[in-house]
Chain length 318, copies 2
């Protein structure tokens, strides 16, 4: 029913802005580009407008180099705006200021979605917004070529962590299979996304692992990195995502801590748990947030003092 | 047709030995256990006999603790032997000495399979032998419960590297989807297999990364570890699989080298390539072997001399 409503407004529109959240990831980039490419196949003027730039990692996707900034709204009188993978209006950044009275469709899979659209297609059980984009494009009778398939596959793979998270369903796999038939090469996409780290990231991994320590009978692991160590490897900010997982992926470890000294007196804390400790509660106690198995916060003080405070909080739960 | 033949000999047998190759991995363990469990559901006496022990990692699978040694052949007069995931008789180890005149079925997906069985079900396009096991069990009309599904899923996930290798097909995903319906929890299986490294392995990763160097305009990466470093972390042999991938997964790197000093004068070399260098040829020149993207060899001499020799060989191809 909602699919029909969306297809109806698309059919009645000729100039469509597709938009999404800032700090883009594989799913919002992939689902937005897939929809743009599909709408263009219908002869629509469809433009992906984003208040951010596309990460280098995803620029191999078709259309990723033709993304416009929010000011582009002044150039075209759009009939329709479609927001992809965005939980609320605020995360659209400056785009939200330009929507005005234009008809707004909201397509997402986040449980926290505020249903800010005129039409809201929010499927919480979808592993990725790309999954919903796939179904919508198919419902419109548009042929899913390799370019569109690559975009959707990228969204699914990144939002399911390579089909490993609990959001991976039978439908996720069924769609992935159809995308392979459409021409996707899993090994190519994986190489582009996961075999493409800046060398500084791998060097930093080695540097950080020097600090690996264990507590509570090896049930807690801790890795830390100082501002001086970060600066010894690169001047700009290095992506440290994933380092905390090295500590988590050790047999017997229930909670992994990663401490990154952002400023001389500010430590960013990343927490992961494996089976039963709710790290969201721990992070919340320090003014942070997150999920049961992955959360984070910032603590004022030295690395050592942050470590002791976090260890104490973990020991209450373990 | 071959499926019918196999089902026919299974129906005519009551005591069945399922066996597989030494140095077991997720696929041969998973496919063998799945078939055993299915045959037991048919009321057969089915035993998994292996000339090796099941890696700790896979012992959570149902039946993994009831595996018998080759000498068990003396205790039961089997009607049928089914070899799973095994390219030739030799890789069965001592099991091959016990087969004698017993009817032998050979189920595998390796292109190099020597068709050593009386009936040979070799599907080179299957991503894993577990995929073939799934189809056979379904063809027999046996209900695939969660225990069987976990075994098959483990085989598929490990042999496709989490659905990333080029052997991942539409059928692979279609089966994975059905296994989720049967009760598999992807996140549980992933935690058991990929979040379960010995802490020495992660410590070694940090130690090895200290040596990370680049050559040929950062197109070649090299990581090495000495015997002294290895011994400083653990007395027994530590699994170093995966360390070479850290070097490969760097943007711009085409060939990654990992050098492990096995003996004062022997260096084990692991090679990986990303797009075009055929590392199998390089490894072969040094008496080793492998695949186009993953190969290995051993070189006599110091780490430094092995490095120089390998770099020279790579430079001819890059």
């Amino acid at each position: 029913m909602i699919y029909e409503q969306i297809i109806d407004v698309i059919n009645k529109s000729s100039k469509i802005a597709v938009t999404s959240h800032m700090q883009p990831d594989g799913d919002n980039v992939g689902s937005s580009l897939a929809l743009c490419l599909a709408l263009q196949k219908l002869g629509k003027k469809a433009v992906f407008i984003l208040d951010d730039s596309i990460p280098e990692l995803f620029r191999f996707l078709k259309g990723a180099r033709e993304v416009e900034k929010p000011s582009f709204f002044a150039e075209i009188d759009f009939d329709l705006v479609i927001a992809m993978d965005c939980g609320d209006l605020e995360r659209l950044g400056k785009v939200s200021q330009f929507i005005g009275n234009t008809k707004l469709v909201n397509i997402d899979h986040h449980i926290s979605n505020t249903k800010f659209g005129e039409i809201n297609l929010v499927e919480e059980n979808a592993s990725a917004t790309a999954e919903i984009a796939y179904k919508l494009i198919k419902s419109m009778g548009i042929f899913i070529d390799k370019d569109i398939a690559d975009c959707i596959y990228t969204g699914i793979v990144t939002d399911t962590g390579m089909f490993q998270y609990s959001n991976t369903s039978e439908e996720t796999h069924s769609i992935a299979g159809e995308l392979i038939i459409a021409g996707v090469s899993p090994s190519d996409i994986f190489a582009r996304i996961y075999q493409n780290s800046p060398k500084e990231k791998i060097m930093l991994m080695g540097e950080a692992l020097k600090s690996l320590e264990f507590f509570n009978h090896d049930m807690v692991s801790c890795i830390s990195i100082s501002k001086a160590q970060l600066e010894s490897i690169a001047e700009e900010d290095i992506d440290t995502e994933g380092i905390v997982n090295l500590g988590r992926d050790i047999a017997g470890v229930e909670v992994a801590i990663f401490l990154k000294q952002k400023e001389p007196n500010v430590v960013k804390v990343s927490l992961r748990s494996k089976c039963y400790v709710n790290v969201a509660i721990i992070a919340k106690d320090f003014g942070g947030g997150g999920h049961v198995r992955a959360a984070g916060c910032a603590i004022t003080g030295s690395i050592e003092s942050a470590k002791q405070q976090i260890l104490l909080a973990i020991q209450k739960q373990i």
